[in-house]
């Protein structure tokens, strides 16, 4: 009798749960490993982010992991809605993950191009530059000189940013991020800034001067990725896969 009950229990336990269409099993989270120590790297481990909406909880990111050390450049590929922007927000630290670790062991930039890079529309270009200099502990005079030179805004740098055209705003944002020396740049589709000539200037500044800095590049620009990145992370519906063969990853993400 007892044995029969035990056998029944065992058969219940061993039976796989029934899965309906559109459902999937999410493994129970493993106990967290030791926290990341003072390592000089950007480490993303088992990152999960879900949002609560009208139609229930949406898991936008589901267990993303990667790691980049100083000087390494990684491309993040994926279709629209694959979770790239969410990943950028989490790495940038503006939103907190539902679970998982983001460790920023390198001196990280704010995401280039995201909403103009945190430029305050009510302040002039100069005041924005002063703010960045203060937050990052740079010399204010040097920062102002650099930004004025790079952004090429002329006298308009004294006007509030809300009066700028979108191109001028992007130029200012880009100049601000170049004024601080970061060890890791977070680049979110920035390479369409301004006109041809200014694009070239940005490209030179970004990939020339900062050759030694690490980079997380979210882009669709095949040429740039092939030229600079040594790894690629392909995102699809919140899941990720890391590739060392960038060309293969590009082809794969194009076929997704």
């Amino acid at each position: 009798m007892v044995r029969a009950v035990a056998a029944a229990a065992a058969s219940v336990a061993s039976r796989p749960p029934r899965i309906f269409e559109g459902e999937r099993i999410v493994a129970t989270p493993k106990p967290r490993g030791p926290a990341v120590a003072n390592e000089r790297a950007v480490i993303v481990r088992d990152l999960v982010k879900s949002y609560h909406g009208e139609a229930g909880t949406v898991r936008v990111l589901d267990g993303i992991s990667f790691e980049i050390g100083p000087g390494e450049k990684i491309a993040i590929l994926g279709k629209n809605g694959a979770g790239k922007s969410t990943l950028v927000k989490l790495i940038g630290g503006v939103e907190q993950p539902t679970s998982g670790i983001v460790h920023r062991g390198l001196n990280m930039s704010w995401p280039l191009s995201f909403g103009g890079g945190g430029v305050h529309p009510g302040m002039s270009g100069l005041d924005n530059a002063r703010f960045v200099a203060r937050v990052y502990g740079k010399s204010i005079d040097e920062t102002l000189d650099f930004v004025a030179d790079f952004a090429e805004l002329g006298k308009y740098i004294r006007y509030p940013v809300k009066t700028y055209s979108s191109g001028m705003r992007q130029r200012l944002a880009f100049a601000l991020s170049m004024a601080v020396d970061f060890e890791c740049y977070l680049i979110d589709e920035v390479l369409g800034v301004g006109d041809q000539r200014f694009q070239k200037k940005c490209r030179d500044a970004l990939f020339g001067k900062v050759e030694s800095s690490a980079m997380i590049l979210v882009s669709h620009h095949r040429q740039t990725i092939l030229e600079y990145c040594s790894k690629a992370l392909v995102l699809k519906r919140g899941r990720s896969r890391l590739f060392d063969d960038v060309e293969f990853a590009l082809d794969l993400s194009a076929s997704l």
Partner: protein, 284 residues
Amino acid sequence: MTMTTERGDDRRRADDPRGPQRGVVRLFFTRLAVQWRVIRALMIRDMIGRYGRENIGFLWLIGEPVLMIGGIIVLWSLMRGAVTHGLSVVTFALTGYSMLTLWRHMVSRGTSALRQNAGLLFHQNVKVVDTVLANIFSECIGCFVSFLFCYILLYIFGVVNLIYDPLLMALAWLGMTLFAGGFALLLGALVQSSKPFGRMLQPIMYFTLPLTGAFYLVDWMPQRAQDFLVWVPMVNAQEMFRAGFVGPVLTFHYDPWYLFLTGIIAWAGGITALKFGERKIHVG
């Protein structure tokens, strides 16, 4: 779940080979220095961003409350005559409305800080609590300077007497800042984590107005009301502020230690709530 929260560049500089104990102390001070730098930058950004550089510029931070306090002083003087219950109406309005302005500004700005400044969190050195602290500091200083401005003006024209105990007043001001700051942090975090609560914020703020003690002295109230009012931190701060202003001519009911204690409790609750509210921040 864990989020490493180093303040970027300064962490490595603080690695001290001379032993962990010293390293920890130095780490604390370097981070404190970074935090102060960031808060200062945020305060300046907030002032310039809000008032611009036109006409008197960021002096509007002082000018706005001065207009409010001045208007109220004129209005109350017209309504109530020169003296009520043995207290000059100008003194009553000046002390009452300065405190009330501080309370209203602190809470409304503190609660909106989380929503408005989320984009700034992209800067690795800027933490949520810094944006709230910057707001709290600038409001505390701005309102106090506008109080001083009004006071000096009125004193020159001989409308109010010399302050009896400046230290007591300053302590009352700081006590109010402490409590209102913690309260703002708590409300801000709750607004962030629950939408219905955000809708209730305006009524809540409105119903706290009689509890700030700006419109009466506790001593004027019936005994049963007094028994309740002495437990309200804002009333304690207000009474203390007035006691410092007019001196022992009238009876005031306050307990500085109680005010301080409630301030600490409000901060403890506020920071805890902020830790949870932080995770609900959603940008764009």
